[in-house]
């Protein structure tokens, strides 16, 4: 907990304990002889916005991959809604810094990709695509090709593509890492709105402490390799949050300091 008295009054009523959606139970990741991460235990509640910070190579992304089912833990288990993740988990949306737009498809056709994979009826596809595109503010650019778009817009396409199929969990691996600071701040605002609208669970990996505090309910700090949970910090800042104003909240600075101290490995 915070070293200095908490500037923000704790909420009058304790939040109801959230139903557990993801549970890492003593997971360890080894790649050959490299002990990359763990053992780590962590639970994520339904509708929670969890941020994970830590030095490079500490296994932040590895945790996400385990939820997505693209990587099995070497030891321990990952449960999603009470069941062990054994194959690719189609309930998750995975957004990374890299854009996976298909260059030969227009924005619209890229957004509908997952819906085509899911064999949705054409009517529903159209409706969902239009809605997703509107929500990320890409309306008017449906027919544009990825090579015509800037980095921020490509990232919106990736978000819209995920949004269209409405996953329960959004796994985000430094999604705004390649954007400039201004645009990044704007995307934070849009992301928070999205989180509120969808009521989905967000697990957000970043190495930017300010980003983590701005967005998350809880921030997990991981140690350097082999990465372990070093600190889990509740961010008791009021919601809905204004991504600009929140930075001048006195508690914000205190959180930065505390996370920074926890991160410092020396």
């Amino acid at each position: 907990m915070l070293a200095n008295p908490q500037p923000q009054a704790p909420p009058a009523t304790q939040p109801v304990p959230r139903e557990e959606v993801i549970c890492f139970d003593g997971v360890v990741a080894r790649f050959g002889s490299l002990h990359a991460m763990g053992p780590t235990s962590l639970t994520v509640g339904r509708g929670e916005f969890l941020a994970i910070v830590g030095p490079s190579g500490c296994g932040k992304s590895t945790l996400l991959n385990m939820v997505a089912g693209t990587l099995r833990p070497s030891e321990g288990s990952v449960r999603y809604k009470g069941r062990e993740v054994e194959q690719i988990n189609h309930d998750v949306g995975y957004i990374t810094q890299k854009n996976y737009c298909l260059p030969w498809r227009t924005v619209e056709a890229n957004v509908r990709l997952a819906l085509e994979f899911r064999r949705m009826p054409e009517d529903e596809i159209r409706q969902r695509v239009a809605e997703a595109i509107r929500k990320v503010g890409l309306n008017g650019f449906e027919k544009a090709y990825p090579k015509q778009l800037s980095g921020g817009m490509l990232q919106r396409v990736m978000i819209a593509r995920t949004l269209a199929y409405g996953p329960d969990i959004y796994l985000m691996d430094e999604p705004f890492g390649s954007l400039d600071a201004q645009l990044r701040t704007r995307m934070h605002g849009e992301l928070l709105k999205l989180w509120q609208d969808t009521g989905a669970t967000f697990v957000f990996v970043t190495h930017d402490l300010q980003e983590a505090i701005t967005l998350a309910d809880r921030v997990v700090v991981m140690s350097k390799r082999p990465g372990r949970c070093k600190l889990v910090l509740d961010i008791a800042l009021p919601r809905p949050r204004d991504v600009i104003d929140i930075q001048s909240n006195p508690a914000f600075g205190a959180y930065v300091k505390e996370l920074w101290t926890a991160l410092d490995v020396h």
């Binding site: 997505a68 693209t70 690719i88 189609h90 998750v92 995975y94 890299k98 996976y100 298909l102 260059p103 030969w104 498809r105 227009t106 990709l113 997952a114 085509e116 994979f117 899911r118 503010g137 008017g140 650019f141 544009a144 090709y145 090579k147 015509q148 778009l149 800037s150 980095g151 921020g152 817009m153 593509r161 199929y165 201004q182 645009l183 704007r186």
Partner: protein, 278 residues
């Protein structure tokens, strides 16, 4: 949120339309005509017509070919040989290149063999093809398909191998089944390379047919050129070359047209921005 689409269009519209006499097309026509006139004059002045013929002599030769119908017969034959060779070689090359490029393990296994055959100067196989397939149409078709095959195969193979595996992984996360990966990722991705291979391979279809006719044949544009050479009929040789040039150019333009429709996304121009303004 300000939205704007910057395209090249307004800039083009803003510059005044250049007059025809300053346009590239006009200059190109002038260059072509001067070359022809120069050819005719030099040939006459230096009495070189035995060696280089002259545009008028070539035109006369064309006239006589057209009259006897020989031009059409030869053209038909050579085009059939090249066309069949192109289709067969292109299809097999594209398909095999796609499969070996996509299935990494197969590609790894076969790469050394493919490379050793690829580096062989394949023209050297022409005599062998006569032995195998005779001196008829079949020989030219086979030879031409072989040349096209290697061109299309290699381009497709190399291009497809470069596919971003993360793209496939991402599609699987989005719910793609094996079939979806093939139809929605692999094939469209490789299409670019198949088309590139086809563009590179197209001239080889004609080369295959012509070389086949040079080596052994009884008709066709290549045969006509060879025959004319042995009779020292330079005008007919040049006429044959002009025909070949015409065929190649026509095919190339056809291919451009197909490519433009299939790969519209590559031509998409302009940069769209909505991020600059907060």
């Amino acid at each position: 949120m300000a939205k704007s689409i910057e395209t090249g269009a307004p800039a083009i519209a803003a510059t005044p339309t250049p007059s025809f006499f300053r346009s590239d097309a006009f200059v190109q026509i002038v260059i072509a005509l001067s070359a022809l006139v120069g050819w005719e004059l030099i040939s006459r002045a230096l009495k070189l017509d035995f060696w280089v013929s002259s545009p008028i002599a070539v035109a006369l030769e064309f006239q006589s070919w057209a009259k006897t119908g020989q031009l059409l017969t030869d053209l038909k034959l050579t085009l059939t040989e090249a066309g069949l060779g192109f289709v067969i070689g292109g299809l097999i090359g594209g398909l095999l290149g796609f499969v070996l490029g996509w299935v990494k393990r197969l590609g790894d296994l076969f790469e050394p063999f493919i490379l050793s055959i690829y580096t062989l100067p394949k023209i050297a196989l022409a005599p062998l093809f006569v032995l195998w397939f005779g001196i008829g149409v079949l020989n030219k078709v086979m030879f031409s398909s072989m040349l096209v095959f290697f061109m299309v195969f290699f381009t497709t193979y190399q291009g497809t191998r470069q596919v971003d595996r993360d793209l496939v992984e991402n599609a699987r996360l989005l719910g793609a089944q094996r079939w979806d990966i093939w139809t929605k990722i692999a094939i469209p991705y490789s299409a670019v390379w198949v088309l590139t291979g086809i563009r590179i391979g197209l001239p080889y279809a004609l080369i295959g047919a012509i070389v086949g006719e040079f080596v052994a044949s009884e008709a066709g544009v290549g045969y006509r050129i060879k025959e004319a050479t042995s009779f020292f009929n330079t005008a007919a040789v040049f006429a044959g070359l002009v025909v070949l040039m015409g065929i190649s150019l026509t095919l190339l333009m056809l291919l451009r047209l197909i490519e433009r429709r299939a790969l519209a996304w590559q031509d998409a121009k302009g940069v769209i921005r909505i991020d600059d303004t907060a």
